[in-house]
Symmetry: C2
Subunit: 694 residues, 2 copies
């Protein structure tokens, strides 16, 4: 089944640079060369990590670019030919970036999901070559008659082309006559050379020669949720858990957790991610705060999957039944929320796999099965999978588990530690699943080195956790966010979780409430996908001493949280998160990945970036521009000048424009240099919407 | 004919990392994946500009590298399998760069010319994985017995391998017994884990699993002169030209020019490049200083090729006959000098091509043939070639001309303005010529933007002129030289000409004699190929006003120079050039491209770099290290501290070592931080040889 967000009559792309289709041909010398007549090199979107297709999501504005040049001084044109999965073909003209590196680029928003193909084509642009020479030479009084005759010949040829509108043909014929008319002075002829209307005819429909066709390349376009979403994470066992009279705790269930769904939806979250919902091992179970001697009531870590009650395809009896789970998925869907399940390929010692398939684990010379470890540390409640004893068996079992949850209504999987399993396995699993269900999304929790992180993303993961939580200063963020938007955007789609059950950074531990506000604002506006783990809105900031994670961690125990009481007491970030998600829904520029540009301030803590989406790439045809100014120092009040390259959104440097702060409602008239004061203790961030020009 | 610099019994490579060959196998899942069991990505040497083979020259030390990693914590090994053109196969182990990017590298000096293939192979290194775990765990008292038994099993397996020397088998068997012996304490067992001899056995011959084989890649290895040489350029018509009694000038000839060869050889130059030697057009001939009204005795520009006396295959009658040219080539060869001819694909208006093949030019609507131009500038003495009217014809003619000069003994061509001809043409021409004559070298004079410059180099040119003349400050040179040595070295081989008939930079115009000394020292030591155009040694530094080239330019007239008189008066740079070329011949580190590292000084004009060649990559097996310290400001005396990372050449930071200044003979004992004073007016450069350690 191929899902598509297109209606039958709409075009499969948005672009400012579309031009009509024409046939391309190319001459080749008798001896085959790798070089073509007009060199085309370094095309993008592209993936440097191997033979993988770059990716985009439906409605994403994607830069298509290539290095192209010709010998000598003659002008060239470059276009990209896009073929949509259902066969629509279109041409989009590239513009030179004029950066000295002969790069050309255009940006197209792709609307249809599936496998697109694209190829670059370059051609000698005869009009542009003539226009450049004629302009200089007629003005200099050199070869004027010759230039006029050459122009007349070009215009006459263009006027004779099939398919050119009659009005253009008449205008071109008349212009040719003017150029040839000896009664017309050279100065007057120059106005024909410089005629913008005629130049427009040739931009729209150039006279092409030496046309060179690049290789067919592919681009995978996935559903919009693969790229855009606000994620929330909670442990269902905590939602509705209660202490009984005997002091023991009764676990929350899917039914009690479902009562929390309207509040999550009201905050504006689209995806709810659940840690593993399967039976938890009893052998070597961990106690509170990761201790090795649990009490009988300790529920254990959900990542220690499997017990006599079942494995990866089962539901923990404390949470309810498979039917309860399906009802939970439906209840979430009714609130506009998709459920993301955890996929953690590992087993507790009492997982059924261990007795039924010991070949999926590593048996040591003493007959025991190897625990997970990072020598000399050991994780006694978890057996890692061995993928090499019986690859066919474990591959098939993993696929069976995924298919099982798909059949229960799940379309998103958050994959635990994918970098501890073979990359090859993930490519195989995701491509196999996506061949059957292109709408399934996998999020990689790969907190690892850049090469494996980017390789996992390249090999198929639709989304990736990133180093975001460890990028906190202005300088770190400027480099990190630019990198996400440009260098890695063809293959890594970031999901900027602000916290996780494993990650409570020093910045949050010691930054106070302003820190939580700052990080949420950046995550929600810098990238189209971000996430929050429950408790963030309550500013939970006490770490286990010496660690980077919460004390009394929810991984090992139930948490009781007074959500509505905190809001009533004004001690919750939920209203701010709600506002952030409202802003994201109202502003398509914030639902894009590649449109971030970093701008400047004179202060070493004030970070400035712009998210801009031109009207021709926007769903409603309206330009959308958001300026974010953040004080990244949560302990200070800062004043500074902010410097903006307003040309990014089409405002001439120095011209005024109006902005509205979408958080406070304040309005200002700004220019390219603006004074800003940001008080971390009051409101550390401006999220400014540039109002449309009159 | 395939030339080779190998003797029959020598190995076709030098390397510190060679290991014996063994069979590699790889498991593949049923569904084909682009990913292999152990990911291998971003291999190099490589060319980013298209489907071209990277290149090296015989004796060049080439880094082979790849990004490789495995899931989890287990250790891997990586090797590169090299197959020489004549079929020798060898394996070379890579070392991790430990830069956080999972890159592995080894450097191999390739001795055999021709098409090499290389491929990377990665494997699970079972010994290294065990060694790491056993070391930590036995020391921590965790699983000691298990670790000892696992080691014993590994050692026993290794001892049973075919081909392992008896001494190793005995040592391994004995070590296995020690590990298993309950009377041996864990502490004593640890000494076996840490035994360097045993570790060495496994480094040499690892226990491999999950072996993954990368793609077969190719590398073109050309003769050493393609990468190493000291070039000299002179106009033969000036050498031996004399003024007759009637005031007219009699041109120098090949015979008179040959009298200059011993002096050029004595300076230590290897290649003599001659501007075009063909008949010069008379129509629209240029006069002195590029004027349009030549006198009857003006000889014209040699680049305005062709007249009634012949075209690209003819010799200018003023210079002599084809037989005289051959004699000149032989005389040069006798002096150890190769002749490089100019190949300028363009025609004077009276070139025979113009009447015989008007289709090779562009005929304008007024019936005239287009001049070369850069609108509105025109070059009336030159018609550019049109490659698109009759590609087959002009391709064949270009090949015929090259073959003609090859038949006259020429093996090096300096190509004039290749960026004004199609890149595709050059790929075709060079590959066609090299298929017949692999020893032919083409040097690209492409002073153009980076994309076409690097593409020409990638498509086949053995050497390239570069932006060197315009990189004069410390900062510019540090970035430029690092880039040459690393980023572009797989495809661009620089020829660092210090001046040309077209280029007399402001630095030389206004830097006085120190500027000439500084630039020659850098060119001769930073890259293995550099060049000097005659007159440089006489400090000719007067430019045509407002231009960047010599006044009274030799392109348009004869030059008379008093070579030996200048030496006698102490007004010649020739002795210094001679010394530079002696140093280059004595030091193999200076005949390498990729071995340059930039180091540091506290002064903004003192540039520091090191050229280092380890003994295992060196022709005589001896390590060669040269430290160059240059004052790039020709108007100053500078004092500064110089900071060196001595680990580059194996000296522990802080340890002393002896250096000798190869220019002055001075000797010092240096460490990693050294005081330097460089007086531009006396000796602006240290070229220091690091003496072998005792």
């Amino acid at each position: 089944m191929v899902t598509t967000s297109r209606t039958p009559r709409s075009r499969p792309w948005r672009s400012a640079s579309a031009i009509p289709v024409r046939e391309a041909r190319e001459w080749q010398p008798a001896r085959v060369t790798a070089t073509r007549r007009i060199p085309l090199a370094r095309p993008y979107p592209s993936v440097p990590w191997g033979d993988y297709a770059p990716k985009a999501y439906a409605s994403e504005a994607v830069p298509f670019g290539v290095t192209a040049f010709r010998e000598g001084h003659d002008r060239i044109g470059v276009q990209v030919r896009l073929t949509s999965p259902s066969g629509d073909e279109s041409l989009h003209r590239l513009q030179p970036l004029n950066d000295g590196f002969d790069r050309w680029e255009t940006t197209v928003a792709l609307l249809e999901e599936g496998a697109w193909t694209f190829r670059f084509e370059a051609f000698a642009d005869e009009f542009a070559t003539w226009e450049h020479a004629a302009d200089l030479k007629i003005a200099a009084g050199v070869d004027a008659a010759l230039m006029r005759e050459m122009g007349a010949l070009l215009f006459t040829r263009a006027a004779g082309e099939r398919g050119r509108p009659r009005s253009q043909r008449e205008a071109l014929t008349s212009a040719a006559e003017t150029l040839r008319n000896p009664a017309v002075s050279d100065d007057a002829a120059l106005t024909v050379v410089r005629d913008e209307t005629i130049a427009g005819y040739f931009r729209e429909r150039p006279l092409m020669a030496l046309t060179t066709v690049g290789d067919d390349l592919s681009l995978r376009v996935e559903r919009e949720r693969a790229g855009v979403g606000a994620w929330y994470e909670f442990f269902p066992r905590s939602e509705g858990a209660r202490t009984l009279r005997d002091g023991t705790i009764k676990s929350g269930t899917f039914r009690t957790a479902a009562r929390r769904l309207p509040a999550v939806a009201a905050m504006g979250f689209d995806v709810l991610y659940l840690p593993p919902i399967h039976p938890i091992g009893t052998l070597n179970r961990k106690g509170r705060n990761n201790t090795l001697d649990p009490g009988p009531a300790d529920p254990g870590s959900p990542w220690a999957i499997g017990s006599a009650e079942g494995g990866h395809d089962a539901v923990h009896p404390d949470l309810g039944t498979l039917a309860d789970f399906r009802a939970f998925v439906r209840a979430a869907r009714a609130e506009g929320i998709e459920i993301a399940l955890d996929f953690a390929l590992q087993a507790a010692p009492d997982h059924p796999w261990v007795s039924e398939h010991p070949e999926w684990f590593t048996t040591l010379p003493d007959g025991s099965i190897a625990y997970a470890e990072n020598p000399p540390k050991k994780y006694q409640d978890i057996y890692p999978i061995n993928f090499d004893n019986d690859p066919a068996g474990i591959y098939a079992e993993a696929l069976r588990v995924i298919r099982h949850w798909i059949s229960q209504g799940v379309r998103i999987f958050r994959v635990d530690n994918p970098h501890t399993k073979p990359l090859q396995f993930w490519e195989w699993l995701i491509s196999t699943v996506n061949a059957e269900h292109p709408d399934v999304i996998f999020l990689a929790e790969a907190f690892t080195r850049p090469a494996p992180l980017q390789s996992l993303a390249s090999a198929g993961f639709q989304q990736s956790y990133t180093y975001f939580t460890w990028r906190n200063t202005k300088e770190e963020l400027a480099e990190f966010l630019s990198g996400l938007a440009r260098e890695t955007a063809d293959f890594v789609r970031p999901n900027l979780f602000v916290n996780t059950p494993d990650i409570l950074t020093e910045y949050l531990q010691f930054g106070g409430r302003p820190a939580y506000r700052i990080r949420a604002a950046i995550a929600a506006t810098a990238a189209p996908t971000y996430g929050v783990y429950a408790g963030y809105e309550l500013y939970e900031n006490v770490a286990r001493p010496g660690s980077e994670e919460n004390i009394d961690n929810e991984k090992y125990e139930y948490k009781f949280r007074d959500w509505s009481g905190a809001v009533e007491r004004g001690e919750s970030l939920a209203p701010f998160l709600t506002r952030l998600n409202e802003i994201r829904r109202a502003h398509p520029a914030l639902r894009q990945l590649r449109n971030l540009t970093v701008h400047w301030s004179d202060d070493d803590a004030i970070l400035v970036y712009v998210k801009h989406l031109p009207g021709e790439l926007s769903p409603d045809g309206r330009t959308d521009t958001i300026i974010v100014v953040v004080n990244t120092d949560p302990h200070s009040v800062r004043q500074t000048m902010v410097h903006l390259d307003t040309r990014v959104w089409g405002v001439t440097p120095g011209d005024p424009y109006d902005v509205e702060d979408l958080v406070t409602g304040a309005r200002w008239t700004w220019t390219d240099h603006n004074f800003v004061q940001l008080d971390a203790f009051a409101e550390p961030v401006h999220i400014l919407h540039v109002k449309e020009q009159r």
